[in-house]
């Protein structure tokens, strides 16, 4: 089991290998389909980004509402492939760590190899479990997107699995 503290330092990120079980702690940003579309457009229009890409990771997730006493409701990963059209540009601009579920396109894998990124899979459908790893949450941008808003979360002992490492190696069973 490999522990990765967030924000990450390059050496730790690059030492993770495909097939490693990884436990994340620290600060993670949350965004899915519409956030990716907006970040992509901001970069294309050379406008400022709503958070620092370098050293940070993004988790593909849209939570259910928080019942009283919880920072968030269920908070498991969503399907990564829908972010594939946007990810290579985001990786190039420094957003090198991604947490989602399921396979990625070849162009995402190539961008991960080129810019020494890391793609982790969180366990799909495990929304209650991941909620229990989230200690606090704040909205960073796009509250108009409702459950798809851009969030910053503080996590502890968040379990994940390395699918594509910084050398472009792919876990395949």
């Amino acid at each position: 089991m490999i522990e990765l503290k967030l924000p990450y330092d390059e050496e730790s990120l690059e030492s993770v290998r495909a097939g490693d079980a990884v436990v994340l702690s620290g600060v993670l940003y949350v965004g899915r389909d519409q956030v990716h579309k907006r970040l992509y457009e901001l970069i294309s229009e050379r406008k400022p980004l709503p958070f620092e890409f370098t050293g940070n990771g993004i988790y593909y997730m849209g939570p259910s509402p928080a019942p009283p006493g919880f920072p968030l409701g269920a908070a498991g990963p969503t399907t990564s492939m829908r972010m594939d059209p946007f990810s290579p540009l985001l990786i190039e601009k420094g957003l090198r760590l991604m947490v989602g579920k399921g396979p990625r396109s070849e162009s995402v894998r190539n961008a991960i190899r080129e810019y020494k990124g890391l793609y982790l899979q969180a366990y799909g459908g495990c929304g209650a479990l991941y909620s229990s790893c989230i200690k606090s949450v704040e909205t960073v941008a796009y509250p108009d997107l409702g459950p798809e808003a851009l969030l910053r979360i503080r996590i502890e002992d968040f379990p994940a699995f390395a699918m594509i490492d910084s050398m472009g190696n792919l876990y395949n069973g």
Binding site: G62, A74, M81, G102, Y123, G124, C126, L129, P147
Partner: protein, 273 residues
């Protein structure tokens, strides 16, 4: 408890607790799993089921889109407008008090504005023998629904064609639909009827026919595995329904349901209608 309260209660429970038979299949898969990655995924699923039970949080943040089959007795005096209002009202209430994620948008192409209520549901009405009404709900998550599909096979494709079509669709799905999955297969009718049957099947088949077992084996030979991390626990069960079709065709539809197979069934007696 009146009918509406029973529907709300069932829907609120359904996103937190799986049917016992589904839980048993997941536990059985974990016992026989030998692949390291898939074992970690099945272990996370087991911990998640426990966590949802303990905290009352939904199993998955995608609490799904309401899919409802309303089976109305042919002898019933049910007023369909009243039944529709009952379904809408119960679904809205469950979404609110059950902390469902609001996952439905009004216009699919342009505005994609969230309706804020999880309405409208997809409602299918059918008539059946007897009286009273039975409501069956799937809380359909879209990570898996995006992997659902219909194929129009040649009429001469036969059993092999059906098995291969399902295996092909699952090969394309890979690890996306949160395997190990539950599969619903609809065969025959028209394109849309096959698709409907592929969802109805989750309530009407025990997965014990020879064809269902052959489909299950061929999907599990794909090596996708739990969490898409390998091994042979890709699907936990196959439920198939078939109906008459046209001489020129053999429609085959597949509904992919993630391991969190959330569904419930509510019976409403004639007196309550």
């Amino acid at each position: 408890m009146d009918a509406e309260e029973r529907i709300v209660e069932s829907l609120v429970k359904a996103i937190r607790k799986l049917p016992a038979s589904s839980e048993a299949l997941i536990a059985k898969a974990a016992e026989r799993e030998e692949c390291k990655g898939a074992s970690l995924a099945l272990d996370a699923i087991a911990r998640n089921i426990e966590c949802a039970e303990k905290t009352g949080l939904p199993l998955c943040q995608d609490t799904g889109m309401f899919w409802c089959l309303a089976s109305i007795g042919r002898e019933s005096r049910c007023r369909i407008g009243k039944l529709e209002r009952l379904i809408l009202s119960a679904a809205a209430e469950a979404s609110a008090i059950g902390y469902y994620r609001k996952s439905v948008v009004s216009d699919p192409i342009y505005s994609r504005r969230n309706t804020g209520t999880n309405l409208p549901p997809v409602i299918n009405y059918e008539t059946v023998d007897g009286d009273g009404v039975v409501l069956r709900f799937l809380l359909k998550g879209f990570g898996s629904e995006n992997c659902s599909s219909v194929r129009m096979l040649n009429p001469t494709s036969g059993e092999r064609g059906v098995i291969n079509a399902v295996a092909d669709m699952m090969r394309a799905a890979g690890g996306k639909p949160c395997p190990p999955v539950f599969l619903g297969v609809g065969v025959g009718g028209t394109m849309d009827r096959a698709a409907f049957l592929s969802k109805k099947a989750f309530f009407f088949s025990d997965g014990n026919s020879e064809l269902e077992k052959r489909i299950l084996d061929s999907v599990n030979a794909l090596g996708i595995g739990a969490g898409g991390l390998g091994g042979d626990n890709t699907a936990l069960s196959v439920s198939l329904l078939s109906e008459p079709t046209h001489i020129a065709g053999l429609p085959v539809a597949l509904t992919v349901n993630c391991w969190a197979e959330r569904k419930c069934e509510i019976r409403i007696s004639e007196e309550e209608l």
